[in-house]
Subunit: 193 residues, 2 copies
């Protein structure tokens, strides 16, 4: 296969976004990540920060659900509305051009297409802890705890909207451990597929 579209699911801090950018550079195609948030913000009126928090992260458990700002309009929560905007935009991007799309369940949204390579990037906790402090400049007393919570919320979101298990190898064409293989190497491996 030579894929037209590459979707990259990734653990928080694993380097998935960077791999997406490198891969897109190598192929000379655009990479969509934060651009998706900005476009949806413009169309929907929701603030970028709000989309970031609610367009990829689920709430954990009953307590989380009760204390979140969840408003319903005609049976739809804000999360549902953001999901629909994201879904529509991702379908449109895939139709329009060859590209890399990072996160936002794009693998699931584009599952019917045959020209999509579905990728999942993960890495061990040490590697990710260092990255969120060094690369993203986060000042965290307990980065490992923060990573685990982020993972759990991404998994909950993915499960809720796709009814599949986040990080199960069988949902993807290729899964890579960026801490073992290296970020550059991952981008190289993917560039030929």
């Amino acid at each position: 296969m030579r894929s037209r579209i590459v979707t990259i699911g990734r653990e928080f801090g694993s380097g998935g976004r960077t791999i997406g950018r490198l891969l897109a550079q190598k192929r000379g195609i655009p990479c969509y990540d934060r651009e998706i948030i900005e476009e949806i913000s413009e169309k929907s009126g929701f603030a970028g920060k709000y989309i970031e928090e609610n367009g990829e992260y689920g709430q954990l458990g009953l307590i989380g659900s009760l204390f979140t700002n969840r408003f319903y309009y005609q049976g739809q929560s804000n999360e549902d509305i953001i999901w629909m905007y994201q879904r529509e935009l991702i379908l449109e991007l895939a139709e329009r051009e060859s590209c890399v799309i990072v996160g936002r369940c794009a693998d699931y949204i584009l599952r019917e297409r045959e020209d999509v390579l579905r990728v999942f990037i993960h890495a061990d906790l040490d590697f990710r802890s260092r990255r969120i402090v060094d690369v993203y400049g986060e000042r965290e007393a307990a980065p490992q705890q923060r990573l685990k919570e982020k993972d759990r919320r991404r998994a909950a979101y993915y499960q809720f909207y796709t009814d599949m298990k986040w990080g199960d190898a069988r949902n993807y064409h290729i899964c890579l451990d960026a801490s073992a293989l290296g970020i550059e190497r991952c981008a190289e491996l993917l560039s030929g597929l």
Copy 2:
């Protein structure tokens, strides 16, 4: 990384064994798969067929456990004894030489070593159904059902002895979909790692 040992976990019928053989050929190192069964049979006295059935497949649910031939000797089932023989042999192989080891939780057994590349191979049900009929010559009215049962029993075995989830991308360095990428291509991708 350039790995000395490669472990290959795989779905039944996915081509994992063939990928292991091709990879070993490319690298000029041995590939252990059925050889493990034969060696354990010799050492333990259990029949090869019995080891094949109980050295990688768990029983499903209470009914399965009740009606299986599970004998205990000093608190150990036959499965536990086979597990210990397999574990010892796999540790010994890894110590002795560069090689490819297919199945039998080798990824978990060798988890402390830094020179091991942990691989998981999977494929869609159509691809695997065709393979078990064409390649292995199985005559099955319902190959898909047989595949699902095999998968569930492998997953149960893996979970019981490793306490990890079989097929979760995060347990492996690289996971590949052989039906999307092709068997030859998978072996090629791995040969550089």
